[in-house]
Symmetry: C2
Subunit: 127 residues, 2 copies
């Protein structure tokens, strides 16, 4: 028994694999627990290193450095140094990073409806 579709209008297994690769590309960029969280905060307003560190409670400096570097390397955020002393470094979202905004909105949207679903299923099981 072969459950694969044979209708040419439906996606082929090859389409499926292409999609998986594309998903992996995105997820690799966004992997790391904090990337989207950092990005969302920076979408709201530019922030300094220490500000982000204080804002995201259980986040160590080492991890933050790495996440920021990853995001910058991928062109999603911009690191801006004002050469004062003590130094001040401000991170902001690049135009390209902003192109993730629609996606992160969709992700958030699904999370919200999922939470509603969980809540209402609890209610049902309370009966």
């Amino acid at each position: 028994m072969n459950l694969e579709n044979t209708d040419p209008s439906l996606p082929t297994f090859d389409d499926c694999l292409k999609k998986i690769r594309a998903i992996d590309d995105t997820m690799e960029l966004l992997s790391g627990k904090w990337k989207l969280s950092i990005l969302s905060r920076l979408c709201y307003k530019p922030m300094r290193y220490s500000e982000i560190l204080n804002d995201i409670e259980p986040l160590s400096g080492k991890v933050l450095s790495r996440e920021l570097k990853d995001l910058e390397t991928n062109g999603l955020i911009i690191r801006c140094v004002s050469g004062t002393k003590p130094p001040s470094v401000t991170y902001s979202v690049s135009d390209y990073g902003m192109s993730l905004r629609d996606l992160s909105d969709k992700i958030a949207e699904w999370g919200l409806q999922h939470r509603d679903r969980i809540r209402s299923s609890f209610k049902r099981s309370d009966l």
Copy 2:
């Protein structure tokens, strides 16, 4: 200097935090390198345990079991046992799991355009 917006039509910082929590909810569900990959395959066709294992090369049985269990616990896939001997277990995507399809399409879409961007930036630097 406070860079926060004060325009009431723009999102507040509280909106921003809510969004981040919603994103975390989604990402927690989809975390684990293989969840979306498994889900996408199952969207294409129902598959058996061993079939998935053979299909995704660098994936161990232990990890696959856990991922499948997670996905099932969250109601995203359905585990169907035909009590033959030897046993046969088929996994398929639930209606609820299908609600992730739009999202995973968006994720794939962004990945594709990102790949194009990378490629064209390589071309430019080759000049």
